[in-house]
Symmetry: C2
Subunit: 281 residues, 2 copies
């Protein structure tokens, strides 16, 4: 088979030193195959992911403590939902802890910003998925000044400390920031307004938020500059091309799970004896 | 297309008056198509289910309050996990609330038996899936006398009252009891012992539990006799043939969702105006 990637996706998307303003949102970093091949590869790579996820789940069921947490961030229409449906949808729902973080409820606002996040951390053996996350507390909150700067400024360090703690407890953290262009966002929003079966995905605020694009870019830059760590690295994902986004996140998860070096758990019972007992039963 | 079902699956599997001892676990009630066709139909029926589930989800996102809860019960190896993977796996993970109920933790035991169940009820727009449930508290608990009879005897009424409350709050409850034969269970347990990638699914207690088969049948009979209600009906699923189980549960969910009569939510904004604003943005 011809070489499909010029470099591992983890290298191609790594955020180190990257300027948000420089992102080519239509690019397909590292991938040589093009759209048709990229799309056609998704099911088979999803199958690889599914087997790795089942091993993680099997370990969780037999006393293992490892977990994987995928954190998805991105502007409206960046395709977070599509990742959940088309990438996470390829693995067994039993092994998925999915959490979506919207505008905080009154109860959530009454607590520290990480309170609601902690409650949804994946348990042993699970693949956790955060559709938005604690990063909203330094993105929308910062852009709209929902708390004073003195407060959100502290959060970068709080987030790093929190993620360190989560990583140290056995969770592999994979953070993906999805970027679409302002034009591509316009096309996607228009599609929602042109199809009655998509109206429910549309919110008039999605349009007013577009005026804050430069502020969001600045807020994302701060996130990448201040929370891109060895224990919880950011990957920057050009997301204009959905097939690439989905393939790339699949590869990121395959990489994370492969890195756990999990084989099927061994029997903690005498197989021959159990076969004998079974025959007699 | 030739007629594939002699009657709706909801009728074919309805538990009314059924004797557990009479169940033909290898049957395929109502379905005329046979294995090959049944298997080949699953992806397309899964797609139908997926669209219906997305409508439920869309309503949940736009103020709707409906939910669907699938409760799966069955002896070890009956195929509950396969239903989750192959039926629930066909819908968007965003819209699924999956909960698996094992041996209660110390904290759970310190509470009423419904406490841990209530915490996992699906939220608005979600398809909830319980892999085991509060029925364990009148099945394994009854069979092994884990609480006095005076206590488990009360639970049937408590369960009915609880499910009435859940149904009245907008949740369509679909309860599925899966039955395999003792021989088929033996085959499936042997398969787990013969494949190292399946060891993790095996528990020596699965064999010792086989000695309690008659007691379990009695306990299941009591469940069907005493908790089969209009607002939370039981469906009895012969589960020796996995393809049939999966197809039948898919059809049960399609029926439940179709019964909600949900169309795509209408726009709660002026579409033309939003299109104009979008163009200017």
């Amino acid at each position: 088979m011809a070489k499909l990637w010029t470099e591992p996706v983890t290298t191609a998307l790594r955020a180190d030193g990257l300027r948000v303003a420089d992102i080519d949102t239509s690019a397909t970093p590292g991938f040589l195959g093009g759209k048709q091949l990229g799309k056609s590869m998704l099911p088979e790579r999803g199958e690889v992911l599914s087997v790795l996820q089942e091993k993680l789940f099997a370990h969780g069921r037999t006393g293992g403590n490892r977990r994987v947490l995928l954190i998805l961030q991105g502007m409206d229409t960046a395709g977070k939902g599509g990742i959940v449906r088309h990438v996470i949808g390829s693995v067994d729902p039993q092994g998925v802890d999915h959490a979506s973080f919207g505008v905080p409820t009154e109860e959530e606002r009454a607590h520290d910003f990480l309170w609601r996040i902690r409650k949804r951390l994946p348990t042993a053996g699970q693949l956790g998925v955060f559709d938005r996350s604690h990063y909203e507390d330094v993105l929308v909150v910062r852009v709209h000044g929902l708390v004073p700067q003195s407060e959100w400024e502290q959060r970068y360090d709080l987030i790093n400390a929190f993620e360190k703690e989560v990583a140290d407890s056995g969770t592999t953290i994979v953070k993906v920031a999805m970027f679409v262009s302002l034009d591509e966002q316009k096309r996607r929003l228009r599609a929602r307004l042109e199809r009655p079966d998509k109206y429910w995905k549309f919110n008039p605020a999605d349009i007013t938020e577009r005026a804050f694009w430069p502020e969001y870019q600045k807020a994302y830059q701060a996130v990448l500059d201040r929370t891109n760590t060895d224990y919880a690295p950011w990957y920057v994902l050009p997301a204009d091309q959905k097939w690439y986004s989905r393939l790339a996140v699949t590869e990121l998860l395959i990489d994370a799970l492969t890195g756990l070096n999990l084989d099927w758990p061994g029997a903690n019972f005498d197989v021959a004896e159990q076969l004998r007992l079974l025959d007699q039963s």
